[in-house]
């Protein structure tokens, strides 16, 4: 049913997908201070793969992702769950945020924190969930 993409779409997809993925990571990391965050970033990333999916079909997209989208779900949930545990060692309530600022040689400070890992978990879960549905639907179409 789905026609192979046109030339313009082909070319555009090749360039847009990496850009969109980088943008999604950008959104993910800046989320704590500016608009963004794991949920939005996950949706942007799935948008990127969805574009690829429309252009090249399910098999090629699977190749591009290298990982089965379902595994993203599992890994995402695992990371989100794990980020709940550090608070436990400090005797604090479940999911209490922990911060580990790391000073880099250049003078810049990177703030590692459990909310960041939690957000990464959300990102992967959202990406995995959306792509699982889209890839599955596309594969049924292609049969």
């Amino acid at each position: 049913m789905m026609k192979p993409g046109t030339l313009i779409l082909h070319v555009a997809a090749r360039f847009l997908v990496p850009l969109q993925l980088v943008f999604s990571v950008f959104l993910l990391l800046r989320g704590h201070n500016e608009p963004g965050g794991g949920f939005i970033a996950g949706l942007v990333a799935s948008g990127a793969f969805a574009l690829y999916l429309f252009t090249f079909g399910a098999a090629v997209t699977r190749d591009l992702m290298r990982v089965d989208p379902r595994n993203f779900i599992g890994v995402g949930l695992l990371i989100a769950m794990l980020s709940a545990f550090p608070a436990w060692f400090h005797g604090q309530a479940f999911l209490t945020a922990q911060w580990w600022p790391i000073l880099l040689p250049g003078g810049t400070e990177i703030k590692l924190s459990t909310p960041l890992f939690f957000d990464i978990g959300v990102y992967l879960t959202v990406l995995g969930s959306v792509m699982t549905m889209l890839v599955a639907l596309t594969e049924t179409e292609e049969r």
């Binding site: 608009p35 963004g36 949706l43 379902r70 949930l77 999911l95 909310p115 957000d119 969930s129 639907l137």
Partner: protein
């Protein structure tokens, strides 16, 4: 600190030994931990596993036995452990005479049951599973009798119900076994619910969830206005668990379980949990007219029902099961009488029954195992082939019939003595005498029919059982004999401390074999004589009693089945009403419910004021118009793609509003979700059937009315939320603390990953589940996926119960085709197309 202080209130208070030890908790947990290790152990040790496992209860028996002298001197041992202090739930364990008696019975009989089960189910592929559940049951039962906290007690109570369910349903490939297991579960769990209500009431009235604190408080619970309700709820729990009339029917059906289970759960331990509860609460709740009336009448009637139904049976296990019902009735009756003598009789009868009934069940299992049948009319003359089994059965049956010098005799004499000395009405005494006549006959049937007379041919060639099977019965029957010969000793160390904790005062008495010539002995003689007479005429008695069959078939069990049918009928009715498979009707139900409930609350609670400062900008009006136009277009368009596009416009217009009112995060999310929704819709679009109008104009009008009503309600709601501030908004707190506490300036995101991270965690799990659900619906094909059923792969499952396998006796409730909403028809067409 002298034991036996003059004040009965202080009896328990003064003699507590509290320690920081938590060994009792460890004992219970150890059983569960070992249960978890069973599959691994079985992999290494195969058939030796059950004997290895038996080491634990054997050790625990010895460990508990070391407390005997301390408990016998009137002390209570308490091991405290906090569990959920905020909710007043503790894992504190308490050992007094009653708990100790139960704990010893559970561990001691459990040891032999494990050894027995290992041989009985030798080579069975599911033996490890069986042992896991059996061990879990043992832990739960031990926890139940040791718990000091009412909630903990309830948790263990329910655990015994669940493990019992799994054990009855061990041979789950047979439909009637599943049915019996479910029946046991439903009856006991329904009672469990009542019990929970009763326990909560008890805690509310007494002000504590701790049994110790309840005992030690000076409150008189029996005069509280909630007393009657509380008592009835608690008794419902106890009666269902302990198979009292009219809930007795599940117990004989539970004999579908393998014999070790019947011997352990359904005679010696679990069914006595209800009895334990009543005995435990007797000092606080007993002694009232209501308590006495309920317990004595239900107890006596259960006793007679059990004995009467037993005499009709020919299946060895059914005979034993019904006589267990009779024994449970006797125990309830004794608790109802509530005199000192009755308490002694109670404790003695409980121990006596556990010993001989556990043994008899195991022996019946041996007969079944070795001959292939357990129908007494087809057995006979086995005494030469199975001499040890025959002797043990004879001795245990003597105890059941209450013949000297066995412990059953001591218990029965005490029971009759307590009855005669109490002021019970004559008809209860009559029921008791009738039951003891019948039980003598039952004992005779069990002991004589299979082993004496001429040898009958059996499905299997009979020979004596191996040592593992015989160990339990031999030990238990010798103990019956030993305790019968030395009743004083057994009484002082074991039985009377238990009676004392039920009586809540030290017992002034002793157990003995010979009570002199009294009424009890006379009744014993009469019932023995009449019982033997009944046994001689058993065939004709049974044929006379079979005249009553129609009446028995309409007994409580028929009520149970009618009740279950009623539930199915109601479920079917409400499902076809609410969930008929049509998406529009689902939405209509959900939305109308929401509109009615919220609308009602709204009009009842709040006065609406039109005090809006209406000042809108032109661009806002334009976006609003765009939104309305798009929504209307989506409703009236005749093109599906057009509808999708129009819905997209609605979404983007909403996103525009978010932007206008400075909520960038929401706007971004909205746009992304809209985009992905369109992508999803496009993917699904090709799978949908051709566009057609399947609703009449009237239906469309109705739907429009619902939609308009909803719109009005939402508008009103928004007006109210703006108008009325019930609580100070939490947003101020979040705005203030977002930077200093959570180091983030984006409050929306801080809420998502920090303030309300638990909610988000839940949401991503839901999202993941939804994705897996969609995946499963789309991907699984009946012809390729193993285990998938015929309906997998279709997007909408048929709503009726059509998943029945061949050996299931549940018939499909209705014809699936009877259900015919438009969407189902479409779905059906689609199925045929694919």
């Amino acid at each position: 600190m002298s034991p036996y202080s003059e004040c009965c209130e202080g009896y328990a208070l003064i003699n507590q030994l509290e320690g920081s030890e938590e060994t009792m908790q460890l004992a219970v947990l150890l059983i569960f931990i070992l249960a978890a290790c069973v599959p691994w152990l079985y992999g290494k040790h195969k058939d030796r596993t059950s004997k290895l496992l038996a080491l634990l209860p054997a050790g625990l028996t010895l460990w508990f036995a070391q407390f005997i002298p301390e408990i016998a001197s009137g002390n209570t041992i308490i091991h405290e452990h906090a569990w959920i202090p905020g909710l007043d739930i503790s894992f504190t364990m308490m050992l007094d005479g009653l708990s100790l008696m139960f704990a010893l019975l559970i561990c001691f009989i459990g040891t032999f049951i494990l050894i027995y089960a290992g041989n009985y189910l030798k080579g069975h592929p599911s033996l490890p599973r069986f042992l896991v559940i059996l061990m879990s049951f043992m832990g739960s039962m031990l926890g139940l009798v040791l718990s000091d906290n009412l909630i903990t007690l309830f948790v263990f109570w329910e655990l015994t119900s669940i493990t019992s369910y799994l054990l009855i349903g061990f041979n789950h490939h047979q439909a009637d076994v599943r049915k019996a297991a479910l029946q046991g579960l439903i009856v006991t769990v329904a009672g469990g619910l009542a019990l929970l209500a009763g326990l909560v009431m008890l805690a509310y009235v007494s002000g504590s969830y701790s049994l110790q604190e309840i005992f030690n408080s000076n409150q008189v619970l029996t005069e509280h206005p909630l007393y009657a309700g509380m008592l009835i709820c608690l008794l419902l729990g106890a009666f269902t668990k302990s198979a009292q009339f009219p809930f007795h029917f599940w117990l004989p059906n539970a004999m579908a379980a393998p014999t070790p289970v019947s011997a352990y759960l359904h005679s010696a331990t679990m069914v006595k949990a209800g009895i334990y509860l009543m005995a435990r609460l007797q000092p606080e709740l007993g002694g009232t007219a209501l308590w006495m009336t309920l317990l004595t009448s239900f107890g006596a009637f259960t006793m007679f029902t059990g004995a009467f139904l037993a005499i009709r049976s020919t299946d060895l296990k059914k005979l034993l099961a019904y006589s267990t019902v009779m024994a449970l009735g006797t125990l309830t009756l004794l608790l109802g009488i509530g005199t000192e003598l009755a308490m002694m009789a109670f404790a003695a009868y409980l121990v006596g029954h556990s010993l001989y009934k556990g043994a008899l069940f195991m022996l019946a299992g041996i007969v079944d195992h070795e001959t292939g049948t357990r129908d007494v009319t087809q057995l006979g003359g086995l005494r030469y082939l199975m001499p040890i089994t025959a002797i043990c059965t004879l001795v245990a049956a003597f105890s059941l019939a209450g013949l000297p010098p066995l412990f059953g005799f001591v218990a029965k004499e005490l029971m009759l003595d307590a009855l005669v000395q109490s002021s019970l009405s004559k008809w209860i005494l009559l029921l008791v005498i009738a039951s003891s006549v019948l039980v003598v006959a039952v004992a005779a049937i069990i002991a004589i029919k299979p082993f004496f007379g001429t040898l009958q041919s059996t499905p299997k060639k009979a020979h004596e059982a191996p040592l593992e099977l015989l160990a339990g019965p031999v030990v238990l029957t010798s103990l019956s004999l030993l305790m019968g010969l030395m009743p004083g000793l057994a009484g002082q160390w074991f039985v009377l401390p238990a009676a004392a904790s039920v009586w809540s005062q030290p017992i002034d008495g002793y157990l003995s074999l010979w009570h002199g010539f009294n009424w009890a002995l006379l009744i014993s003689f009469i019932s023995l004589g009449l019982g033997i007479l009944v046994f001689k005429r058993w065939e004709s008695v049974r044929s006379i009693l079979s005249l009553l069959n129609p009446l028995i078939q309409r007994g409580p069990e028929a009520g149970y089945f009618r009740f279950m049918d009623g539930i199915v009928y109601i479920a079917q009715w409400q499902t076809s009403l609410l969930q008929n498979g049509s998406m529009r009707s689902y939405l209509r139900t959900i939305i109308l419910t929401f509109v009615l409930l919220t609308g009602y609350t709204l009009t009842q609670r709040y006065q609406l004021h039109w005090n809006w400062d209406v000042s809108v900008y032109l661009h806002e009006i334009i976006v609003a118009l765009l939104l309305v136009t798009a929504a209307v277009t989506a409703c009236i368009t005749h093109s599906r793609l057009g509808a999708v596009a129009a819905m997209g416009v609605v979404g983007y217009a909403v996103a525009l509003f978010f932007t206008l009112f400075s909520a960038p995060d929401l706007a971004i999310t909205q746009i992304l979700v809209e985009t992905l929704t369109v992508i999803l819709l496009v993917l699904v679009l090709f799978r949908l059937p051709g566009f057609g109008n399947i609703s009449t104009t009237a239906e469309r009008g109705r739907d429009a009315a619902v939609a308009i009503l909803t719109g009005i309600l939402i508008t009103l709601l928004i007006m109210v939320t703006i108008d009325i501030q019930l609580f100070p908004p939490i947003s101020d707190y979040m705005i203030e603390n977002s930077q200093p506490l959570a180091y983030g300036r984006n409050i929306v995101n801080v809420i998502l990953v920090d303030y309300r991270a638990l909610d988000t965690l839940g949401e991503i799990f839901v999202l993941a589940l939804a994705a897996m659900g969609v995946y499963a619906m789309i991907k699984f094909r009946p012809d390729t996926a193993p285990g998938a059923n015929h309906y997998a792969g279709t997007l909408i499952l048929p709503p009726k119960n059509t998943f029945t396998s061949e050996n299931d006796d549940v018939t499909p409730l209705t014809d699936p085709d009877q259900f015919s909403s438009p969407s189902a028809q479409l779905n059906k067409h689609k199925q045929e197309d694919v």
